[in-house]
């Protein structure tokens, strides 16, 4: 499966393991980058690829194992240290300061605390050369970047990397902020660098870009290195099948109990919806009584979509409407959505959901207290009765309303959080990645609970970053990619491979045809490397 590099590696990860507390993010990772190659790094959420990037760029140090640069073990204890070893990184978020000029943004970090490494003139000349090679105006170096576009800001961070001496450039989803012409200029620039023996580690969720650019690719799955393949083998179909761990890319995996719903019976819909400024618009229907899964890689719009549907986040354009007794009511905000029967359970439960200093009962009854009030005063016996009923229904362990919420396991805490909103008897329940970090048994209970709810007529929209979970639990799955719904899958089409392919902006049917005629469907301009 792996092709040995021809020359000694520029940078090598040898048996790297990284743990965050009890969680193993990366296990025995092996990655070797040859001089002059563009090395792809792919994998779905939680595969460990962002951990690899953080280790190589000096943001974290590995728990076990060695990072080798030019064959020698090195300690990349800070981004500055990584840069001294000539490893530079450009991240997906455009990390620029709005208070410094573009030029200062480019050269900050090259100096000592007081001593400037270069004269202002040398800096300007070097930066202007790089900026021009990327097809941007040198004017972006002069002013502060407040009013620059996202692409121009990313040109600044690319310039920051390219003006430094480097042997390895890490592009961590860095191209997603670029417009197409800038991206193509970047690829041409990288081709020149490659000829001079410099290497690129290219992390991308865009199969078309990977196809154009890479020489070899390493695939990560669940924190483990699946293997490294050469260019000929690194077809989208092959990479996707390595990511999913299934040998047969065409396997269809129909979920038992999936029910198709009448398309006409829509309870919540997005019309001409655009999640962030300049993102493409799309429509989305949520059908009454279904469980609609929202999937996608982190940062591709899934989280924005559930927030927009719940009225927590404003839309960039377009509208969200909810069916209220036969007429469409526009969702304009969180409280108004709640009154219209939409309940939203936020993601990060510690920060956004729970009141850690209060009891289980308090946490559970928080949203519906006014219903137990007479003349503005709570009747605690009525609250308590309701809380006990709710805890029985949800199966919260221990069954004790006075228990501190912080004493509950993740799954039970999540049940309490969901229960808080269920008590309000919503028509639509929107869940933002409710089961992240919850054990399997609790997950199963939770799926059953959701199923029960839908049978009683509630509609559920659930964001999940795990494909298996979407397949197990949902009737339909909307996959987000590049801040839009790329595809909605249901019935026979709802398979592991289809969801995974959609996360990377592909349709499974493309993959089958692409195996036969390798690159005809690629609409983007190719750059010869």
């Amino acid at each position: 499966m792996s092709t040995p590099p021809l020359e000694p590696a520029v940078v090598e990860l040898a048996g790297i393991t990284h743990r965050y507390g009890p969680t193993v993010a990366l296990s025995d990772c092996r990655l070797s980058i040859a001089p002059g190659e563009v090395h792809g790094l792919v994998g779905e959420n939680g595969s460990g690829k962002s951990t690899v990037v953080k280790l190589l760029s000096g943001i974290m140090r590995p728990t076990e194992g060695e990072v080798r640069v030019g064959g020698k073990a090195v300690d990349l204890r800070s981004p500055a240290a990584a840069q001294r070893h000539e490893i530079v990184t450009v991240f997906q978020e455009t990390l620029v300061s709005d208070e410094c000029s573009g030029l200062d943004n480019v050269f900050a970090g090259t100096d000592g605390i007081f001593r400037r490494a270069r004269s202002g003139r040398a800096e300007r000349e070097a930066a202007e050369r790089v900026v021009a090679s990327l097809g941007a105006s040198p004017a972006i170096l002069q002013s502060s970047p407040h009013h620059l576009s996202l692409a121009e800001r990313q040109v600044l961070t690319l310039t920051r990397a390219l003006v430094r001496p480097w042997k390895l450039l890490i592009l961590d989803e860095a191209t997603s902020a670029l417009d197409l012409s800038t991206r193509d200029r970047l690829f041409a620039v990288l081709a020149d660098h490659r000829r001079e023996g410099r290497s690129v580690l290219f992390v991308s969720h865009r199969m078309d870009e990977l196809e154009i650019l890479i020489d070899r690719a390493t695939v990560q799955r669940s924190g483990r290195t699946v293997g490294t393949v050469g260019k000929d083998e690194a077809t989208p179909a092959r990479l996707l099948s390595m990511m999913s761990g299934r040998s047969d890319a065409g396997e269809h995996h129909v979920r038992a109990g999936a029910r198709s719903r009448q398309a006409a019976d829509v309870v919540l819909r997005g019309v001409d919806l655009s999640l962030v400024a300049q993102a493409p618009a799309f429509d989305l229907d949520v059908r009454r009584g279904e469980i609609l899964g929202i999937g996608g890689l982190d940062g591709q719009g899934g989280s924005h979509l559930v927030e927009v549907l719940a009225g927590v986040r404003p839309t960039a354009s377009g509208r969200v409407e909810v069916d209220r007794d036969g007429s469409w009511t526009r969702v304009t905000g969180y409280r108004q959505a709640f009154r219209s029967g939409i309940a939203y359970v936020p993601g990060k439960r510690q920060e956004e959901g729970l009141f850690p200093s209060m009891t289980v009962g308090d946490n559970l009854s928080m949203a519906t207290l006014p219903r137990h009030a007479r003349a503005g005063l709570f009747r605690s016996s009525s609250v308590l009765t309701r809380v006990r009923e709710e805890m029985t229904r949800l199966g919260v362990v221990p069954h004790d309303p006075s228990y501190p919420i912080t004493g509950l396991s993740g799954g039970n805490a999540q049940k309490v959080l969901v229960g808080r909103w269920l008590a309000a008897e919503p028509d639509v329940l929107i869940l933002n990645d409710p089961l992240r970090g919850v054990d399997l048994g609790t997950k199963r209970d939770f799926y059953a609970l959701l199923r029960e709810l839908t049978e009683a007529g509630t509609t559920v929209v659930m964001l999940s970053t795990e494909i298996e979970e979407l397949l197990t639990c949902c009737d339909r799955v909307a996959v987000c990619q590049a801040e839009r719904v790329f595809d909605v899958l249901e019935g026979e089409d709802l398979t592991y491979d289809a969801v995974l392919a959609a996360m990377f902006g592909r349709h499974v049917s493309d993959e089958q045809s692409s195996d036969e005629q390798s690159s005809d469907h690629d609409t983007h301009r190719k750059v010869t490397l």
């Binding site: 500055a80 620029v96 208070e99 410094c100 200062d104 943004n105 050269f107 970090g109 009013h147």
Partner: protein, 324 residues
């Protein structure tokens, strides 16, 4: 790709005009008001006003580096540090006849630096939030000053009256302020300035770019301490002695002055000049209200109102500036 449509006038103004200009305009207005209220102000009264304002001006300047360094950067202990310095001069050095100018000045700067180093350690190495860490040192320094000097004292060496003299064309204390400003100006010509602004406005960007965020912030607290030391020296001269209870009263005024001067309390925007202008503005308002015989309660309320107006205006100004 940047704004090609005609940008609204206010936005253009907000983008082009330096951050300290609104405060400067307000100072000009206050000067006119003061001059209309007091006949002697223009003919030399202003020099005395500046002498009395100088400890506040220096403490506001001292506050600037930590505020600029971001991450909730703030030094509540600048007042007590200045107070401690004056107590060290008046109750430790002078009674032992160690009152040579150079020695007093060096000890003042070192005491300030030591206080700054304590804050820097707590904030950047122990990683206590600045407001908590410096509240703790506020209490410790203030307590220490009272411990060393229970009752106010008033014996100063002859040379210290230089600071308060208004016989020259300009009051001497202005040279001290300009001196501190000059040292800062030199510092802004080094890489430290861009390191500081980068760290203050976006510490993640700074860190991943390779800036030593910890060192840059540590140095900011140290510089603040040293400047508080200078302020302590001047405070001693202005008071004509030392009083352990006076220093702490300056802290909140210094922070208010920094906000008035247009610095962003979130970090990354502003400079020492703005802080000094803000302090002058605050002092002129106080002076004007005293001239018009406002009560001390009214004075306090005026401080509060001015501060709120300043912070709201600051925010509005910033939004205009950053609007795309």
């Amino acid at each position: 790709m940047s704004a090609t449509v005609a940008t609204p006038l206010l936005q253009t103004v907000a983008r082009k005009v330096p951050y300290f200009v609104p405060a400067l305009v307000a100072v000009a207005v206050m000067l006119l008001l003061t001059a209309s209220e007091s006949e002697t102000f223009l003919s030399g009264g202003w020099k005395l006003v500046l002498v009395y304002a100088s400890p506040l001006v220096l403490l506001a300047m001292a506050q600037a580096p930590v505020v600029l360094s971001g991450g909730g950067g703030l030094d509540l202990s600048v007042g007590p540090t200045a107070g401690l310095v004056s107590v060290v001069i008046a109750a430790v050095l002078i009674p032992r006849d160690l009152s040579v100018a150079w020695l007093v000045i060096v000890v003042a700067l070192l005491t300030g630096a030591a206080a700054g180093a304590v804050n820097a350690t707590l904030v950047t190495l122990v990683r206590i939030p600045p407001i908590i860490a410096t509240l703790a040192t506020y209490l410790v320094f203030a307590g220490l000053a009272t411990q060393v000097l229970g009752a106010p004292t008033g014996f100063l060496p002859e040379w210290m009256s230089w600071f308060t003299s208004v016989d020259g064309v300009l009051p001497n204390v202005l040279y001290v302020i300009l001196g501190v400003g000059l040292v800062w100006l030199l510092l802004t010509r080094t890489a430290y300035w861009r390191n500081l602004l980068m760290v203050g406005s976006n510490d993640r960007a700074a860190y991943t770019a390779g800036v030593n965020v910890t060192a840059v912030r540590f140095l900011a607290y140290l510089l603040t301490g040293v400047m508080a030391g200078v302020a302590g020296l001047v405070l001693t001269a202005v008071l004509g002695g030392a009083d352990a209870t006076v220093g702490p009263t300056y802290t909140l005024q210094a922070i208010a002055a920094v906000a008035l001067g247009g610095l962003s309390l979130a970090g990354g925007r502003g400079g020492l000049f703005g802080a000094a202008v803000g302090a002058v503005l605050l002092f002129l308002i106080q002076n004007y209200l005293t001239l018009t015989e406002a009560s001390s309660f009214e004075l306090q309320m005026a401080y509060g109102v001015v501060l709120i107006v300043a912070i709201v205006a600051n925010g509005a100004w910033d939004r205009k500036r950053k609007a795309r």
